[in-house]
Amino acid sequence: MAKKFLSGNEAFAYGVSLARPQVISAYPITPQTIVVEKLSEFVEDGSLKAEFIHVESEHSALSCAMGASSVGARAFTATSSQGLLYMAECLTYAAGGRFPIVMMNANRSTALPWNIYGDQRDSLSQLDSGWIQAYAENAQEALDLALMSFYIAEHKRVSTPFMANLDGFVLTHTYEVVDIPTQDKADEFLPGYETENKLDLENPRNLAFSAGPEHNTVFKYKEHLGLLNSKKAIEEAEAKFSKIFGRQYSGLVEKYKTDDAEYILITVGSISGLVKEVVDGLRASGRKVGLLRLRYLRPLPNEEIADALKGAKAAAVLEKDISFGNEGTVYTNVNSALHKAKINIPNSNYIGGLGGKNISAEEIKSIFDDMEKGKSAVKFLGIGGAFDGN
């Protein structure tokens, strides 16, 4: 292992490089640019033997990755925000075609108003595209996720594309100390990509075909099973990862001091680091609080959410997203998990960090205070006082 002081983007690029992708196709967009710049440097200096294809758009970036995957190559791309939306048409193609492409998405707000800063509205708008969606908390997890994402996506019972999300700027552009595994150990963890789902002159087959009303549901059902099967593949990947590299991950969710917690805040991504500090502070003054971090949103950790919240008096979801005319999408998903498990506790939704707005420790403390009032509401942080929509 080598220790380096890296940004989230750079750390992710090291992880991708260790996975030895054969084709990288990408189009630059802030705040994703550095991950592909770094990979192009690795290709240029010969340390990574891959085809680096600089395409003319995000739509082409993913189309190109699909072409590569359809001949059995390990393919990587990366994007952000409007770039993700521009390639949206291709997202369902990649998922339906069962091409296990890995993509890093630098979470960034969506226009208008034009904004280059971080929130999670871009990836959350694509939850139904058929991709696995994971969210990293820090640069080390980003690197490790890069390596694990190929293992999970390419797993025989999964064969589903993987979107790894890093919060724009606060994670992609912040430098931290990161352990970089050796190539030997990375190779031990991740063998080369083997698949029958490819164009092969020796074994001709039809890929990416049409399926009319009669057969369509079966294909969609199998696509759904692929996502559900990824739960086991994630477990398997993390067990193997921990054995080889010694770092442990906790599957679809991370439970931080939730076991005896009465009040639990649910978050996604890098804001969880600050929530842990607030939880520690409140615990020191005797308050039974905890954090549930959703590491994956697809597959949705239904059972894990229910299990973490079953003993709580109240919960709240803090997310960098709003589904206009309704509420935050993470909140909708969490409520669905609670409803199915017949857990009926007050659960509020806090919309924060839109367009990169800072979320402070004081705001997080005030969410925990609010939870004790035992009411459910949808509130926006940072508009000068709580706004409940009425």
């Binding site: 220790k3 002081f5 552009h173 931290e176 100390v177 890098s270 680091g273 800072n358």
Partner: protein
């Protein structure tokens, strides 16, 4: 936690210094750092800030620093009374300047002079880093030197190592 707030102009290397400090501090095990710039479009000459947080436990707070242990100005035209509001009690301000200050919280260093003599360019970021090592009890000049050797382009290493040492001596009062 030690929090360092850097002020400079685009091109003066404030963020490079912020990163070098983080890299230096984390050379030893069980040390953690975050380093980041004020995010946004970058322009040469425009005021920028950069942030370094140092601790012996993982740092979860990725927000900008509002109260710093050290406030560092690479350019004295950016310094004003408002700087004192961003200091923690007991905090210090380091400024690259030819002026002198009565206030005990301010440490003035003529980094431009050291830069002219050693680097041959008016780039003072590593010089202020050397001065910071002199006034802080937790930042080791040897580790700054190693971070420069590991992270700066080869042709810049010798001059910058010489410059941090000169600044370290100069600020030892």
């Amino acid at each position: 936690m030690i929090e360092v707030l850097w002020h400079g102009r685009g091109g003066q290397g404030a963020f490079t210094a912020a990163k070098l400090l983080g890299a230096a501090f984390t050379l030893k095990d069980n040390r953690y750092a975050l380093a980041f710039p004020s995010f946004g479009p970058e322009r040469r000459g425009a005021p920028i800030r950069a942030f370094t947080k140092l601790d012996t436990k993982p740092i979860g707070n990725r927000s900008e620093i509002t109260k710093a242990d050290f406030c560092i100005f690479l350019d004295d035209t950016l310094f004003g009374e408002a700087a004192f509001d961003s200091l923690k009690p007991g905090g210090k301000i380091l400024i690259n300047t030819k002026k002198s200050f009565e206030d005990g919280r301010v440490i003035a260093i003529d980094a431009d002079k050291i830069a002219a003599e050693i680097i041959g360019l008016p780039i003072t970021n590593t010089i202020l880093l050397g001065a910071l090592a002199a006034v802080s009890n937790n930042i080791d000049i040897k580790e700054i030197e190693t971070a420069i050797m590991q992270n700066m382009p080869y042709k810049l290493i010798e001059k910058n190592v010489k410059a941090i040492k000169a600044a370290y001596e100069e600020a030892q009062i």
